[in-house]
């Protein structure tokens, strides 16, 4: 099971982000990766994520969405997370908008890792306790801590 801490850090997290559109939310997520040095071609990554969004929705329901892309715009797999100030429609199956939005960006040749992270993240977001902690987090570091707390203890191997 991939650990989130290998691909995510508190510097790639923000809360109460204002994003009136899906493109704004994706841009905010990509900017976090860019600021952390994980998105050398910021505009190309935004385009890749939006092209993926056009293929099929990434809203999961229960306040969550996982936009993602495999693209040559990045050289390593990484995650970013935001909590939106206002819920935003990501075309979730249950019709509910998302407040917790997580980006996975990975190179084209890492499909297996991308799949595993996507599955890992989807499972994590099914946990009502995590979602409650993420929604209630007073700041970005608390949000990141709640996210990383879903990793198994260090001495446990999966």
């Amino acid at each position: 099971m991939p650990t989130l801490s290998a691909y995510f850090g508190p510097d790639r997290c923000a809360v109460d982000v204002s994003a009136p559109t899906k493109a704004d939310a994706v841009a905010a997520l990509v900017d976090l990766l860019a600021a952390a040095g994980k998105a050398p071609d910021r505009d190309a990554l935004v385009r890749a994520v939006m092209e993926r969004e056009a293929l099929a929705p990434t809203g999961l329901g229960s306040d969550c969405a996982i936009p993602h892309a495999q693209t040559d715009a990045v050289t390593e797999t990484s995650l970013a997370a935001i909590r939106l100030a206002e819920p935003l429609d990501f075309s979730a199956p249950d019709g509910t908008p998302a407040r917790l939005v997580f980006l996975i960006a990975g190179p084209k040749d890492s499909a297996a890792l991308h799949l595993r992270l996507l599955s890992r993240l989807a499972r994590t977001l099914c946990d009502p306790a995590f979602r409650a902690a993420a929604i209630a987090a007073p700041d970005a570091s608390s949000f990141a801590a709640a996210f990383l707390a879903t990793d198994p203890p260090e001495n446990v191997t999966a």
């Binding site: 293929l55 099929a56 929705p57 993602h68 199956p93 799949l115």
Partner: protein, 115 residues
């Protein structure tokens, strides 16, 4: 007694596979319509929609064949026949075959092979 399971990815080989079963001494089997996990995720779960290219080569459907065998000799005879029909079980994407022990059985004797 064992339950023999064959997941056959290319349905075009069904006729040859069933002929191999009969030749090896398996008089009857149950055939189920089935689908691979990757194919299902890529085509039916929107979150994984971008993995269609990753799953290319996967068939839309596959077949799962269940048969009860009593004699391991049947398996020894069947394996090379199946390999010949489908092009080798060790080749990715062709299928998988395995057995699990059966510790209880009820049914007509013709449901197990006459080795």
């Amino acid at each position: 007694m064992k339950l023999l399971v064959l997941v056959l990815n290319d349905e075009r080989h069904m006729e040859g596979v069933l002929e191999a079963y009969i030749e090896a001494g398996v008089p009857g089997a149950t055939i189920l319509d089935s689908e691979g996990m990757g194919r299902f995720l890529a085509y039916k779960v929107p979150l994984f929609a971008d993995f269609k290219e990753f799953m290319k080569g996967n068939k839309p459907k596959n077949k799962t064949i269940l048969a009860v065998v009593r004699d391991d000799g049947v398996l020894d005879r069947l394996r090379p026949l199946i390999d010949a029909v489908i092009g080798g079980l060790s080749v990715p994407g062709n299928g998988i075959m395995f057995t699990v022990p059966v510790d209880w059985f009820a049914g007509p004797e013709r449901a197990v092979e006459e080795a």
